[in-house]
């Protein structure tokens, strides 16, 4: 399968279709047995996750991976790449530079929180957030750096209706305003319908069909895959 | 040295290695059992071996019992101490992380060792004075004690195998080691099985401790010193896998003894460490494959 630049591609399919596995492979958490993955013509197969990050490929997790004993702000500030303060010696000796960078990153984080409209949670411990807020935080982390493509693993799972609408809006805004490309695994068909074009259907480890959600709904094979033989 | 002599010498060292391997195996079995079920590295296991050895001393010296009666006594007493340790300490930490359990077992190791020192004093002790003449087969020397250790270990391993495969509690132990959650939804009283696991692991450790005392001498730090080879054996065999633990024990024991032919005997423990690190780097699941 391929994901077009600037698109919001949906990835759907029944449980066990292999969607999350595909994500894990694309994001460098698993190594494929065979086959290649290319990011704008560059072969990135088998690169570890932290290197892919620097190539602009980011991911979120189905079960939010927040740093629970750290504040929301800190959660975001972990992300920016090339922080001088991440080296022991510069933290100790070039405190001024580090401080300046920290201030920049902090401003950036605050912007992100504003964008997501959760700035009231800035100093809350991430572990205390609701499921939906954690999802927003996951999304927020991807905004702390320049991304080319963001893989979202079930951004809607466990999120209530109102927050879901907002999440959808945020994703669309990121797509149109900042030019993010998204690939989204999601079970909430409403969300997929609202956001994604095109949609890829997977079943039993293979791509079954691809196209517009409207078409797919009338596709026999897709219906069968969901309802079972 | 001519070739024949070398072979004899080599086989002689192998015998020493098997004896040491048996002792290590008995410790590694317990470490492996506990890791399989409770998922933490039990650092007090070596000191449980020492404790068993000293209980044995009580049987031999104070009660003047014959050796075959000393074993059940010392193993039972050590099992009770292990059970008490679980009830008073480990049980309260079960819901915390394995790492915290590990640290608490280091604390327990300290307590056991110092308790031994308080009761029996810090000096070396032996079970029996006097030197027994070794049997000699084709130039190979083997002491009766060493034969007893090998034979005794074999009996214990067979008994353990029968326990794990023929009794309800033994099967439940294996079930828990496979999948604690599933055991729970099957209605198995996991706390009771854990309790038994401690008793069995400690009994094996006690036997290993007595053998260690027979083979060398008793002193309060004997268990701590052998802890590294014991862990190395459990890891080399595949942690959580009992037969792996036995195999790993023999491997570590034999290689440790063989190493004395090339390097200074003082560095024997380093050999165990080296095998362990090699294993961890190249085959983390161990020889027979263990848990993750």
């Amino acid at each position: 399968m391929s994901i077009a630049k600037g698109s919001i591609t949906g990835l759907i399919g029944p449980n066990g279709a292999g969607k999350t596995t595909l994500f894990n492979i694309m994001a460098g958490f698993l190594v494929p047995d065979s086959g290649t993955i290319r990011l704008e013509d560059e072969d990135i197969t088998g690169l570890p996750a932290y290197k892919l990050f620097h190539k602009g490929l980011l991911r979120t997790f189905q079960i939010p991976h927040e740093f629970e004993r750290m504040t929301v702000l800190e959660n975001l500030m972990v992300v920016p790449p090339k922080q001088a303060g991440e080296l022991v010696l510069s933290s100790l000796l070039r405190w001024g530079t580090v401080r300046r960078q920290e201030q920049q990153n902090r401003r950036k984080a605050e912007e992100v929180l504003d964008f997501l409209q959760i700035s009231h949670l800035t100093h809350e411990l991430a572990g205390n957030l609701s499921g939906g807020q954690k999802k927003l935080l996951e999304l927020g982390r991807t905004m702390m750096t320049e991304a080319r493509i963001v893989l979202l693993d079930e951004p809607g799972a466990g999120v209530n209706r109102t927050l879901l609408g907002k999440l959808a809006q945020d994703i669309r805004r990121l797509n149109t305003d900042l030019g993010y490309t998204f690939c989204i695994i999601e079970h909430d068909m409403d969300l997929i319908m609202e956001l994604c074009h095109p949609v890829v259907v997977m079943a039993q480890g293979k791509v079954l069909a691809q196209g517009d959600m409207q078409e797919l709904r009338n596709n026999r094979a897709v219906q069968e895959a969901y309802l079972g033989g | 040295m001519d070739w024949g002599c070398f072979v004899i010498e080599f086989l002689q060292v192998i015998i020493y290695g098997i004896v040491l391997g048996c002792i290590i195996s008995l410790g590694a079995i317990g470490v492996s059992l506990i890791f399989g079920i409770l998922r933490f590295a039990h650092f007090a296991h070596g000191d449980m071996m020492s404790l068993g050895a000293y209980f044995g001393l009580v049987g031999v010296v104070s009660l003047q019992l014959p050796m075959y009666a000393v074993f059940p006594l010392a193993m039972g007493a050590t099992a009770l101490v292990a059970a008490a340790l679980d009830r008073s300490i480990y049980r309260w930490l079960r819901s915390s992380t394995p790492i915290i359990m590990l640290i608490s077992s280091v604390g327990a190791a300290l307590m056991l060792r110092s308790a031994i020192q308080v009761v029996w004093g810090p000096d070396n002790k032996i079970y029996e004075a006097g030197i027994k003449l070794p049997y000699i087969f084709y130039g190979l020397r083997i002491k009766p004690d060493q034969l007893n250790i090998i034979f005794g270990t074999a009996v214990l391993v067979v008994l353990l195998h029968l326990f794990l495969h023929k009794t309800r509690m033994g099967k439940a132990m294996r079930a828990l080691s496979d999948n604690m959650d599933l055991a729970q939804v099957t209605g198995i009283n996991t706390e009771r099985v854990i309790f038994w696991t401690w008793m069995i692991a400690a009994a094996m450790a006690a036997a290993g401790g007595i053998f260690l005392g027979i083979d060398t001498r008793l002193n309060p730090i004997m268990g701590w010193r052998i802890l590294l080879p014991v862990f190395a054996a459990a890891i080399a065999g595949g942690i959580g896998n009992l037969y792996g633990a036995v195999l790993g024990g023999l491997l570590i024991g034999i290689v440790q003894e063989l190493s004395t032919m090339v390097i200074s005997p003082a560095y024997k423990p380093a050999v165990a460490f080296a095998i362990m690190v090699l294993m961890l780097v190249f085959r983390p699941t161990g020889i027979l494959g263990g848990k993750e």
């Binding site: - | 590295a41 930490l93 280091v106 190791a109 004093g121």
Partner: protein
């Protein structure tokens, strides 16, 4: 006279507590910040002590030496040696799960112990290295101990301040994140292994400093000084009792636990003759029991870890009204 004796004892007490404070600060970097279990603190402690001793002592037929470098270079050597050892250990073990590091670290400690005992050409074996110079000694008539205490306190202060600053830094922020969720740190583009290795090495370097200070304090070292009880376990109890993850906790733990340890000595020395030989064992038993007690009833220690203040021009800090901010900062 009584008072002078008390004062001497007090200086001695603080000096040792200070050395322990350095060790427990080092362990705090590994365990408190990063969640690494190093049960071989004694090894890095010993390496530090021996390195500093060897490069600062006069030539001796019994061990390597004769460099007669100044005290500070000795400490530098201690840092380098223990850091290098940590680097090697870390390369091999940090990819593995936490409990394997723990097991490997007792292996390292054991090997270092054997090495120090058996390589007589280097360390004079069990007979140890005597006549290690004590800095600033002989400057005053009777104030050597006090001056040396000041040296120790200066080291503790510098290390403490550096770690406090680090604690505010992005570096520790990543470490704390790794402790909670490694995958997410990977997904945020950080090379987790690099951070772990750095933390392990830094912690060990600090332990090396502790070793160096110890060598110059006692002026005589031998392998028996670095047994696991004093070199490793006491340090662990100190850190856990004081509060893992909190530098102040590491300091407090060192003072309190050393106090408890020395205090029980006063008590046990009054025991009847036959018990005196066993007194040390009883005290170790109590330390073990104390550790269990803390783990069960107050696992966070006396001074629990608290999130650092995030630097920057916080609007909430300026306005100072955000209720959430208030909660997070207390």
């Amino acid at each position: 006279m009584e008072l002078a004796g008390l004062l001497t004892y007090f200086i001695f007490f603080l000096t040792v507590a200070g050395i322990y404070a350095v060790l427990s600060l080092g362990l705090n970097v590994q365990w408190g910040f990063t969640g690494q279990i190093n049960i071989g603190v004694a090894a890095f402690f010993a390496i530090g002590a021996y390195s500093s001793a060897i490069v600062t002592t006069e030539a001796s037929p019994f061990h390597l030496g004769g460099f007669e470098l100044p005290f500070l270079l000795g400490i530098l050597a201690a840092m380098f040696a223990s850091g290098f050892l940590a680097f090697l250990v870390g390369l091999v073990t940090l990819k593995l799960r936490g409990d394997y590091l723990a097991i490997a670290s007792i292996g390292i400690a054991e090997i270092i112990r054997l090495f120090l005992k058996n390589e007589g050409w280097l360390t004079n074996g069990v007979r140890g290295i005597p006549a290690i110079p004590k800095p600033l000694s002989g400057l005053t008539e009777s104030g050597d101990a006090l001056l040396f205490l000041l040296v120790i306190l200066a080291f503790v202060f510098v290390i403490y301040m550096a770690l406090e600053r680090l604690y505010q830094s992005p570096w520790v922020r990543v470490l704390r994140a790794i402790r909670v969720n490694e995958d997410a740190v990977q997904a945020a583009g950080k090379n987790v292994l690099r951070f772990r290795l750095e933390a392990f090495v830094l912690g060990s370097v600090i332990m090396g400093v502790g070793g160096g200070l110890y060598a110059h304090f006692t002026t005589f070292i031998s392998p028996s000084a670095f047994d696991p009880m004093f070199g490793t376990f006491l340090v662990w109890v100190m850190l856990i009792a004081g509060g893992s993850g909190n530098n102040k906790g590491a300091l407090l733990g060192a003072v309190i636990i050393w106090g408890v340890w020395s205090g029980t000595e006063i008590f046990t020395s009054r025991l009847p003759e036959m018990w005196v030989t066993r007194a040390s064992a009883i005290r170790i038993f109590l330390v073990g029991a104390l550790l269990e007690f803390i783990l069960i009833f107050r696992p966070q220690g006396l001074l629990p870890e608290k999130p650092p203040k995030t630097p920057g021009t916080a609007r909430s800090e300026k306005s100072g009204v955000s209720p959430a901010a208030g909660r997070a900062d207390t």
